[in-house]
């Protein structure tokens, strides 16, 4: 038991340190859509090359001492102070830059979300070798030369529906000499929307006998009364056929007819006995299918409904609603 406890303690400690670092950095550099880099946010430390350089300087110094060679002393000291000067230059390469969150492009799980960021310079100087990356994203190295701003796009693989938070954006640079690494972690408050994973289902109930010329489909949500059926949990209160209840019959709900060429309703209730995530996946699948077939379709979820429509904007609205159903994926 003891053996097992040790790593736990370690992990706990590490976790606590990470937590502490995060709260510290959040207080120091709170999330914002645009962040201008200043001394509160920029960190600087010798890079690995910098330490190698120190080692070289040490050997040079020993050479100078052992040969009593003044010019070697001079060169060693010149390079030492060059290192000190490089601190300022490396810092200046990041300082004054403003990072703007521009936009994100929603994606399906398994695809890549796109994050667009704009870097803007605050001073009339050139910035070189700026490396941008989120902890899980692709990286990008850019220069900001003879332009006031530049836009970059980073990609991250996403796997769960809902808002994807990429974490803090790392912006680092070792320009001009590579001896020092200057970096910052900015939280741009930029989230990418991840839609549910589309999942084909057996034909949509009632859609099996699909007529191109527009058969009436038992899809709830339309105006024309079609039939009554026994109540299923999840049916809307508005659909309940109170009259039959008053007559002492079992609770029934009204079914309305919709015509395929007019408008279809994608309803939460269409997939009885299926888990929430799977249900959303099916709805997502059908929304995509309808959009491709250029049908009019609406969406009805337990907590909201979207009137029928079509087109890219409408699809986005529908998919967003699905993605954010109950605040996104429960495990995410």
């Amino acid at each position: 038991m003891r053996v097992r406890q040790e790593p736990d303690v370690k992990i706990g400690l590490r976790y606590r340190w990470q937590r502490r670092f995060l709260t510290w950095i959040n207080r120091r550099a709170p999330p914002a859509r645009s962040v201008t880099l200043d001394q509160r946010r920029i960190f600087i430390f010798p890079s690995r090359v910098g330490f190698f350089f120190f080692l070289c300087l040490l050997v040079m110094l020993l050479t100078a001492i052992n040969y009593q060679n003044n010019m070697s002393f001079a060169l060693t000291f010149l390079l030492t102070t060059l290192f000190v000067i490089a601190i300022l230059h490396t810092y200046a390469n990041l300082a004054g830059l403003t990072v703007h969150a521009v936009r994100t492009k929603p994606a399906f799980p398994g695809q890549h979300s796109e994050f667009d960021i704009r870097l803007e310079r605050g001073r009339q100087r050139d910035h070189y070798g700026l490396r941008l990356a989120w902890p899980e994203s692709t990286e990008c190295v850019i220069n900001l030369v003879q332009a006031d701003s530049v836009e970059v796009r980073l990609h991250t693989a996403v796997d769960r529906r809902g808002w994807y938070n990429p974490g803090r954006l790392l912006l680092e640079s070792t320009y001009p000499l590579g001896l020092l690494r200057c970096w910052t972690w900015v939280d741009l408050n930029l989230h990418a929307l991840v839609y549910p994973q589309p999942l084909a289902s057996a034909d949509l109930p009632g859609l099996a006998t699909q007529h191109p010329d527009g058969a009436a489909l038992p899809i709830s949500g339309s105006d024309d009364f079609y039939d009554l059926r026994n109540y299923h949990p999840g049916d809307s209160l508005r659909q309940l056929h109170w009259k039959s209840l008053a007559k002492g019959q079992p609770l029934q709900s009204k079914q309305y007819a919709a015509y395929a060429e007019r408008s279809l309703w994608l309803d939460w209730a269409m997939f009885p006995g299926v888990g929430t995530e799977q249900r959303l996946s099916h709805l997502c699948y059908w929304a995509l299918v309808f959009e491709r077939r250029r049908y009019q379709y609406g969406l009805r979820l337990p907590d909201q409904s979207i009137n029928p429509g079509m087109g890219a904007q409408h699809l986005e609205k529908v998919l967003t609603a699905l993605a954010l159903y109950r605040g996104g994926s429960p495990t995410g």
Binding site: V49, F52, F53, C56, V59, M60, L62, T63, A64, I65, N66, Y67, Q68, N69, N70, M71, S72, F73, A74, L75, T76, F77, L78, L79, T80, T81, L82, V84, I85, A86, L88, H89, Y91, A92, A95, G96, R121, G122, R123, Q124, R125, D126, Y128, G129, R131, E139, V141, N143, D148, T174, Y175, P176, L177, G178
Partner: protein, 670 residues
């Protein structure tokens, strides 16, 4: 390979340039094949860049490294010593270029470049070399900067500018460190220059040695006198005393060849003021130091020898500076010990019989030793002896051949013959080797002694007077002593015949000569203050500047100078003109919004000025007219720009400003 690891072409070009500039000053010390390696390296790497060749494989690399090591071993005969080490460094630099694929390799290459700069200083710290090294360091730093400018594939000078700026900014702090860093002695012994020929006068003299040395225009040493410079005919720089003649060569007495009671110089009584001077001597790889007679030095590491010479306890591997004082008229060794007399009379049996006979005859005809000396000198003057830089070779019994047949010789011939004649006639005599004269630099009043000033003369012991300097060359060619070698051999045209480009040959061109002398004066300052800066000098300078030295003062100076240098640098970097995104008018409007927000009305994003004014007026009815008016002005100035005259604009701006001030007061009243 990710984009960060790639080497931009711009950086590659700078690296290849620095490859060649780094090797250039080493060329004379390198075997030729190393230069070939450089050519191949540059070609190979550029072919790799163009995609025509590929990087060397692991096996090829190994083979190249082994070949380089073997080549260096073959060229130098060993891997020890400074020269093979530097050759190895340079070859490694070239080979590294071939396999330069990633940024990591580039760092190794460039840091190696800095090392090569340092290794150049181990051979020479001359002003020109240092200036050239500054260029090299700038080039390497440029390549380092270019390495961090990704996607800069066109060759450009932007990185050069930044590198130069950074090095310039680093320079003042470097000076501070240079003067403050404690100069401690060597920590361990290091490989020395083994393959450099020893320059200057050597410890044995055969006819032909000094005339050979006189082909060189290198500077042997520079002297700065305190007070007047003595006339050049008095400037006999004694370096070595040759008391033994064996196998046709004059040699100095080794310590073990002396009787034990003879190893210390006999003290000399002197009472007048000495000549004081300091000498900066270029490395000779030898121990002896040059001084006027009779010299003493209080400097640590300098010993006095029995023949009144100064002797350094370590070989002069580096340029060396020493102070000495001399009494030129002091009598040396007025009493000669028996052992000394025997030694200074020794002559190999049965050599030069005619010369000995001549000497004995002439001594018999003279009244005293002094008269004998004068008679021999007169013989050199009267008979057709020629002073020449191109003396004929002499076989066995060289002095017989010289005195009776060739009669053409350089100073060592005359000194040799004179000393042999003296000894043959029982007059103690010895040959002294060193330099005679020197060029007086009018710019800084230093005496520059060149290798071609090398000279040999004789010291004769006369009872009551001690060792007396006799220069038989002066009898043959008085110009040599009065004016120097150039005038003495002017008719022959042999002065520096082997170095047609030496600036010393063009002393008649006055502007060229004045440039040369100015540069020499600069070199002297450089040698005195920079190259020769040592712990003594450091202590003196620091104490003069700062008074009593202690650690806290050191730290204070370091911090102070650091702040003094870094603040302006930081200022220039960070206070660079900001890009204005807002016009002054827009800024004024933002101030207006800010003032209102303090009064409790916030402008929401995207709210236009008119809408905001309306809302604000409702919230703050007592300020409504002012708010409306200011918004009106802002809109007029922003949108109705063209319709307004300049004076009207100014008026409106003024009104806006006054309005803002009222709002500020409103806040205070609030």
């Amino acid at each position: 390979m990710n984009s960060q690891q790639q080497i931009p072409r711009n950086a590659l070009v700078w690296m290849i340039i620095s490859l060649f500039t780094l090797a250039a000053p080493h060329v004379s010390r390198l075997p030729l094949w190393v230069l070939a390696v450089y050519g191949v390296a540059a070609l190979w790497r550029s072919m790799v860049y163009r995609g025509l060749w590929s990087f060397p494989g692991r096996l090829a690399k190994l083979a190249l490294i082994l070949c380089a090591c073997a080549g260096i071993y073959a060229s130098y005969g060993s891997m020890q010593g400074l020269e093979p080490t530097v050759a190895l460094l340079l070859t490694a630099f070239a080979l590294k270029l071939i396999e330069l694929a990633r940024r990591k390799d580039a760092y190794v290459l460039l840091f190696l470049g800095y090392f090569i700069c340092i290794s150049e200083f181990l051979f020479s710290q001359e002003l020109l070399i240092v200036l050239y090294s500054v260029l090299n360091i700038t080039l390497i730093t440029t390549a380092l900067v270019a390495l961090h400018q990704p996607a800069q594939h066109r060759f450009n000078g932007g990185s050069l500018r930044l590198a130069a700026v950074m090095l310039t900014q680093a320079f003042p702090l470097m000076l501070v460190l240079f003067f403050l860093f404690p100069r401690i002695g060597p920590l361990w012994s290091v490989p020395i220059k083994r393959h450099t020929a020893k320059t200057g006068v050597s410890d044995a003299m055969q006819p032909g040695d000094i005339s050979h040395l006189s082909q060189s225009d290198e500077v042997a040493f520079r002297v700065k006198f305190q007070g007047e410079i003595p006339p050049r005919s008095k400037l006999y720089w004694r370096g070595l005393v040759f008391s033994r003649l064996t196998d046709g060569a004059w040699r100095r007495l080794k310590n073990h060849e002396m009787a034990s009671n003879e190893r210390w110089p006999t003290p000399i009584t002197i009472d007048d003021e000495p000549l004081r001077y300091s000498v900066i001597i270029n490395p000779t790889q030898q121990h002896w130091l040059y001084s006027l007679r009779y010299a003493e030095s209080e400097q640590a590491g300098i010993k006095a020898t029995t023949d009144y010479l100064l002797y350094s306890s370590v070989a002069l591997e580096e340029q060396y500076r020493y102070r000495a004082h001399s009494w030129p008229d002091a009598a040396l060794e007025p009493k000669l010990s028996d052992w000394r007399r025997r030694t200074e009379l020794q002559l190999p049996k049965a050599s030069n019989p005619r010369t000995r006979q001549l000497a004995r005859d002439m001594r018999a005809a003279s009244a005293s030793d002094g008269a004998f000396v004068a008679a021999v000198l007169a013989m050199f003057t009267r008979q057709p002896f020629v002073y020449t830089l191109q003396p004929p070779r002499l076989g066995s019994d060289p002095m017989d051949r010289f005195l009776f047949q060739t009669r053409r010789g350089f100073c060592e011939h005359y000194a040799y013959a004179f000393a042999v004649m003296m000894r043959a006639a029982d007059v103690p005599a010895r040959v002294v080797a060193g330099y005679q004269g020197g060029e007086i630099n009018p710019v800084n009043r230093t005496v520059i002694v060149h290798q071609f000033d090398a000279h040999a003369w004789v010291e004769v012991w006369l009872s009551g007077r001690g060792w007396v300097r006799v220069d038989p060359t002066a009898a043959v060619s008085p110009q040599r002593i009065e004016l120097g070698l150039e005038q003495a051999v002017a008719t022959e045209g042999s002065f520096l015949a082997d170095s047609p480009l030496s600036p010393l040959r063009y002393r008649s061109i006055s502007w060229l000569n004045s440039v040369r002398l100015r540069y020499d004066a600069l070199t002297y300052q450089w040698q005195n203050w920079v190259m020769g800066f040592n712990s003594d000098q450091q202590y003196r300078v620091l104490q003069e500047l700062l008074g009593q030295l202690d650690t806290s003062k050191f730290i204070l100076i370091l911090l102070g100078s650091g702040t003094l240098v870094l603040l302006p640098v930081a200022g220039s970097l960070l206070a660079r003109n900001r890009i204005r995104t807002l016009s002054p008018l827009d800024q004024a409007y933002l101030t207006f919004c800010d003032r209102l927000s303090r009064l409790g009305v916030m402008r929401s994003p995207g709210e236009g000025p008119a809408a905001f004014a309306e809302r604000a007026a409702q919230a703050l009815p007592q300020w409504a007219p002012l708010l409306q008016r200011l918004t009106e002005i802002y809109c007029d100035l922003t949108y109705a720009d063209a319709d307004l005259s300049v004076t009207r604009r100014a008026q409106l701006k003024q009104e806006f400003k006054l309005g803002l001030r009222r709002l500020k007061r409103a806040r205070q009243a609030h």
